[in-house]
């Protein structure tokens, strides 16, 4: 029994290495991005080898996870989807009940050996669930389907927003919404839905925590509180702006090295990148992100069925949300929310969950349509 398992495992591993079922352009894009991330982290952390090796280890872990998941056919994933979704929502409820409070918000679940944020799971299970629901339906989706999807998105998003973790709630909702968008939801329906959401904004404002409101207020006028809430925004903009066209050069960003820039290895690492590599670096990195997202959408278009298409497309597009929200935050365009710059920001959960998502994409790619 154990021997058989061992043999199967060995065969699997051998095949993973000899015939990797991955999309090489996407893998290459991710590899380059990871390298840029490590390089930026090296500078931002002041040459901390401990952080570099830690982050690299997570990349390796995520990479292995990516390879493993790429071997699971999309059909199997689709079968697991409701259970995965239900399981992750249950974990969210557990967190809400007895989660560990860290820096003012209840996000973490302590499993003894490791603690993790169940909300991270939703970043993947949410688009899976929406794709799973829409897969057998007549598309474009009807109002009824849209409503069901709305509920599927709303419950976990509400739970996450309540933690409070607005950034993740936004990412999770966006992932679901993108699946809906890609399913061909009528433009007028999208328009009217957006109108309703827009009308709800004042109501939502009412439900925001005071600190969250303050973040929005400081965004509108950072100089009003230069040492408090405005500090992040001002120092981040100084870092970005002082970078100029060509940047100050790798390891020469003064804003981060002298600690003016807060959170300069995590949420604000892109400010370090902008300071050191300038606008040219920013454009190159944006091009790299655009390439990765484009490749994801290409894989989605090549996918064999609705589930795969919607899932691949949603994962690719939600990758954009990371970039846009983080980049906008660093540039003082969007409020400060805890969204990392994907594969550049230091931090394990985000890197691993992102690479897991790309594992699904690889699997979809491996099971693409066969062209004539």
């Amino acid at each position: 029994m154990i021997d058989a398992l061992q043999i199967r495992l060995q065969r699997l591993l051998r095949r993973m290495i000899t015939r990797p079922r991955i999309d090489l352009p996407l893998a290459f894009g991710l590899f380059v991005l990871g390298c840029v991330g490590l390089m930026t982290l090296y500078s931002a952390s002041g040459g901390s080898m401990a952080m570099i090796t830690g982050q690299a280890a997570r990349f390796v872990m995520g990479g292995i996870l990516l390879l493993l998941i790429s071997r699971i056919p999309p059909a199997v994933l689709r079968g697991w989807t409701p259970w995965l979704y239900a399981g992750s929502v249950c974990l969210l409820l557990v967190v809400a009940a007895l989660g560990e409070v860290r820096s003012g918000s209840k996000r973490w679940l302590d499993l003894g050996v490791l603690s993790f944020q169940p909300s991270e799971l939703l970043k993947l299970t949410m688009p899976m669930m929406v794709a799973w629901y829409l897969h057998p339906r007549q598309l474009p989706p009807s109002w009824k389907d849209i409503a069901v999807v709305g509920i599927l998105i709303g419950i976990p998003a509400g739970l996450i927003a309540e933690q409070p973790d607005l950034g993740t709630a936004l990412l999770v909702s966006a992932a679901g919404a993108f699946a809906l968008f890609l399913s061909g939801m009528r433009w007028w329906k999208i328009g009217s839905l957006l109108a309703v959401v827009g009308a709800m904004v004042p109501v939502a404002w009412h439900f925001l925590h005071e600190y969250q409101r303050n973040r929005v207020r400081t965004l509108l006028d950072p100089e009003s509180d230069p040492l408090g809430n405005g500090w992040h925004i001002i120092q981040s903009q100084i870092a970005v702006g002082s970078g100029g066209l060509w940047g100050k050069g790798w390891q020469h960003g003064t804003q981060s090295r002298l600690d003016f820039l807060p959170e300069h290895t995590t949420d604000f690492i892109f400010a370090v990148f902008s300071e050191e590599f300038g606008l040219v670096g920013v454009i190159c990195l944006m091009a790299l992100y655009a390439f990765i997202i484009g490749r994801c959408l290409w894989i989605a278009m090549e996918a064999r069925d609705t589930y795969s298409r919607l899932l691949a497309g949603a994962i690719g597009m939600s990758f954009f949300v990371y970039v846009f929200v983080n980049g906008g935050m660093v540039a003082g365009m969007l409020p400060v929310v805890g969204v990392p710059m994907p594969l550049v920001s230091y931090g394990g959960t985000s890197a691993v969950s992102l690479l897991t998502g790309f594992g699904v994409l690889m699997s979809i790619h491996a099971n693409r349509k066969v062209h004539d």
């Binding site: 059909a75 057998p136 339906r137 007549q138 598309l139 474009p140 993108f178 968008f181 890609l182 399913s183 061909g184 120092q235 903009q237 100084i238 870092a239 970005v240 702006g241 002082s242 970078g243 100029g244 066209l245 003064t254 804003q255 090295r257 002298l258 600690d259 003016f260 902008s274 300038g278 606008l279 920013v282 454009i283 944006m286 992100y289 655009a290 997202i293 484009g294 959408l297 989605a300 278009m301 064999r304 069925d305 609705t306 298409r309 919607l310 497309g313 597009m317 954009f320 970039v323 846009f324 980049g327 906008g328 540039a331 003082g332 365009m333």
Partner: protein
Amino acid sequence: MALKRRSIKDSRGESTLFRVRAMVGFALILLGLGVLVARYQYLQVQRHSEFALRSENNRVKPRAIPPARGLIYDRNGVLLADNVPAFRLEVVPEQVSDMKTLLSDIRDVVPLGDDDIDAFKKQLKQNRRFDSVPLKLHLTEDEIARFAINRWRFPGVDVVPYLTRRYPYGPLFAHVVGYVGRIDADDMNRLDADRYKGTSHVGRSGLERSYEDVLHGEPGYELVEVNADGRVQRVLETHAPTPGKNLYLSIDLRVQRAAAEAFEGRPGSSVAIDPRDGQVLAMVSVPSFDPNLFVNGISRADYSAYMTDTDKPLLNRALKSAYPPGSTVKPFLALGGLELGIRRPEDTVLSTGEFCIPGQQRCYRDDVRGGNGTVNMVRAIQLSTNTYFYKLALDMGIDRLANWMGSLGFGKKTGIDLIGEAEGILPSREWKATRSKYGWFPGETVIAGIGQGYWNVTTLQLAHATATFAGHGTPYAPRLVMATAAVKEHAVPLPNPPAGPSLIHKPSDWNVVNQGMEAVVYGAGGTAMQAGVFKGFPLTVAGKSGTAERFSRRSNDYDTNKNLAYLATRHRAWFIGYTPTESPRIAVAAMLESGAWGAADAGPIVRKIMDAWLVSTGGPVPPKATPESAPAVPSSVPEVPEDTPVATPADTPAMPPESASSSPPDDGGNP
């Protein structure tokens, strides 16, 4: 494939729809990324210079480097004020979570006085959180060692080197050189903040204060890179400070020491001046104090000990204590008589022991019962004949007297390079008009002629007047500092041009007064001659004693008790002198607050100063002066003070002369 067939959907249509959506989505994403890039372009290109400047301002801070304070030397280059490296305990408030606990814990390691804590707390309020604040200055080696062991317990506390001031000769120059002290809140308001950035001490008294501008120097600065906490990462650029200039005093350490020792601890003061240029050769005030105690904050115990000491060691008597000069003014008055044409040298006055203002009842006593007989000017100076000077003052009139004596520097600051000089009192109508509703009485003119009444002079003023006379009338403002020297440069003499033209128009006038003052020292009946003060001194000395009463006489003791110790409690002893008379090079004034007799008690002080001066100029070592115990009171010494006051200003500064004349003329009680 089977899965797909099961659905009743139009999969081809869906696929096309998806393709369109994906493309639209990708277009929107590119648009979003484009917006992001546009924003970065706005920040990084359009507003680049603004943010570059702000980043630079964030990062680079100028930091002042305090200049090293100029050193102070005596005229031969002996160091009187030095900068020595020391260590102080500094606290960065920001890094201390609980200041109260820290202060109580650290006391077990480094003992802290309440003064330290108070000063620390005061400064704590003024400083920025990341600027370190000195907690204790001048740590001992033991304290440094103990702190080093316990350092881990006190984050944010560190031992920091600095330069502190040291006065190797301590009390000897305390009243001249003064001392520096920690800059306090008041100083911060007074001083130019830019020049004193990073400086911890400022001149508080003496030359340290009056030459503060010269000694301080110009601070340099360095551009340092700081992090967000304000902590210095590295130095980018250094502009060295310009150290303060060194001062060279005209005082010779040996003369100064001799002058201080001559007092043998008795309160008093003495000033020696070179008549040729106004340079001060010695300046002492006894008792003195240790200036080193003040540099890093004097402890309460030490300070209150100084403040409660009845001898007032902190008081610079030479500069600030003004007393009636007594007979020491007589030579100056005589000179005035000659210069103003009121007296000829050969004019004589009959001294009968009592002088009465013509047409009035009031009479004033002479030195000796029965008087000195008929005296001319030289003899009157030699014997200190009161009647001669009563009459001279009266003939001169208070206005001319005040004017003449004022030209010699009485009643105003001498202009010495120290701060806080007392002006003393020059008796005049103007002066009295500001103090009293009564007009000027002729009796006040009479007693002004013998240095009594309203008269008050400082030792410095008297030394200055003596030097002016000795220098044949050319007045110089006294100067303690004769040269300054920038670092690594030669000393540059400070010019001290005469303050005005010579006061003496006829050289013969000078000769007459000089003759009188020589007779004081060498002539029979001269007070100094009788006391044997200048016996054996190789150069010719001219001098004049003065004995002024501290109280008006009221008791029987005044007439009967001739005990020296008793007299000393009542008298102030003065002596002025200069040498060599052919071409005077040193003029000295000495004052003993409690001396029995001017010549016998203050005279030896002048002698000792002259001895030391002679040695310092390479002259022969003079034989020891006659021991004071020898003829302390020669038989012919006047049994009453030579200047017989009727009332001293100390007691009754504006007393109308009616009360003064109430004392009956002294007819003597001694056989």
